[in-house]
Symmetry: none
Subunit: 236 residues, 2 copies
DNA sequence: GCGCGGCCTCAAGAAAGCGTCAAGAACGGG
DNA sequence: CCCGTTCTTGACGCTTTCTTGAGGCCGCGC
């Protein structure tokens, strides 16, 4: 077996008032690895959209407290998150209105779970396209540049080769730059939860990182030791 | 009407064999300012797609000379142009297949002109978003040129023959040039999701690619190994 | 001054991962 | 049905990476 990551799937906001429908969708989504947030009203839908910033919205029209179209329009004022409308109304004019209001797809109830999932994949595919999500994939300190997307480390203009563990250790430090990270945390992150007392690993690997990335490995400027506690990466 | 402006509406490629349906769609599209290119067969569809580089494709499944899904898949090898499938078949499995093959939407005949136009607007809205079109249809590195449209690989002036798996492996690497792609990703992409632990395949096929495309296969400049992680294609 | 705990260094053996070669199986076209 | 191509599988040796241990340094409390 492989010690996989928790594999957190895309976050879906479900806005739907009928309990029965909600149960149906919840079952489908969760069994396919999606994380789920639910709302029962338009107002709650908008509130959750801003609070959770989901990857996708499933929106029922005909909510108790207002038009679902409003939800769509309101969301489109500030986000391009895919919205798939689910509706009992199959009139062409309804579809056109919803789509022009900013919805990305429109399914008429009843629909098959398979089709819904397929259309969700399409929507998520779109959202993944333009490099809109990854904000700052490059961390730098001193003359070191760490490119998290390409998985490359540069020292000046030269690429530095890191082994998998070295890289993982560096990234966990970099992701919490400035903060102290305890031995336990680092070990758990890099070597897994069964190695949280092998502090010797850290000494060896920190030494390697320092040799590869510090100009004076014996007097580290960036990879500093916090005796008895852990290590810290100083990025300025 | 004649005497109009230079008519610079979006260019739509219509791939449809039934003359009746073509007439119907032609009327709708032209009356709404779209420019139109028509194809009657799958082969012609692909040819026109490369020749005209349309803004949107309307694709009928069930063409005389082959599966419409193939057209979708082939196009997705090099372009992200929106594809809306029009089909008489309304089975859920058909929809799922088409959408997963790369289609952006699926309408079952008969459908209303208004809905089609609305869904086209959605598709064009997606395509219009920033970032624009990314995938250059030709990738090159060293003295290698990879033509994604023609599915051809050249080394200098000579064409290099690749087997299907070799080609697929090369393209998945090329589409993420510079980034490390994990063993798992590559295997899933080339051999399907049931082979994600057959890392041995990768060794064999990477060796073959290197032999065909590297000047010194034993010391690869472009197809580099990231031990324990995956492979990377360096394009500079 | 001495002992001790925590840390760093160096290095070697163990383990895992990788590249190579080759043979048999499966496939597809004639 | 046969032949050539492509895919799969296995064995082997090599390289990289991981793990482990021994030794030394330093600061602190006693």
């Amino acid at each position: 077996m492989t010690g996989e990551m928790p594999e957190k799937g895309p976050l879906v906001l479900l806005v739907e008032d009928e309990p029965q429908m909600r149960r149906f969708l919840r079952a489908i989504l969760q069994s396919h690895g999606y994380r789920l947030v639910e709302a029962e009203t338009a107002a709650e839908g908008i509130a959750h959209a801003t609070a959770y910033n989901p990857d996708l919205v499933l929106l029922d029209l005909g909510l108790p407290d207002g038009d679902g179209l409003d939800v769509t329009r309101r969301m489109r004022e500030w986000t391009a998150t895919p919205i798939i409308v689910l509706s009992a109304r199959g009139q062409e004019s309804d579809k056109i209105q919803a789509l022009d209001a900013g919805a990305d797809d429109y399914l008429t109830k009843p629909f098959g779970g398979g089709e819904l999932l397929a259309r969700m994949r399409v929507a998520l595919r779109h959202a993944a396209r333009p490099g809109g999500d990854d904000a700052a994939p490059i961390v730098s300190f001193g003359d070191i540049r760490l490119d998290l997307v390409r998985r490359q480390v540069f020292r000046g203009d030269d690429e530095v080769h890191l082994t998998p563990n070295e890289y993982k250790l560096l990234t966990t430090l970099a992701k919490n730059a400035g903060k102290v990270i305890t031995h336990r945390q680092l070990l758990k992150e890099v070597w897994g939860p069964n190695a949280t007392n092998q502090t010797h690993y850290l000494r060896v690997y920190m030494a390697q990182l320092r040799h590869k990335l510090e100009s004076d490995p014996a007097r580290p400027k960036h990879f500093t030791t916090e005796p008895g506690v852990g290590y810290r990466l100083r990025t300025e």
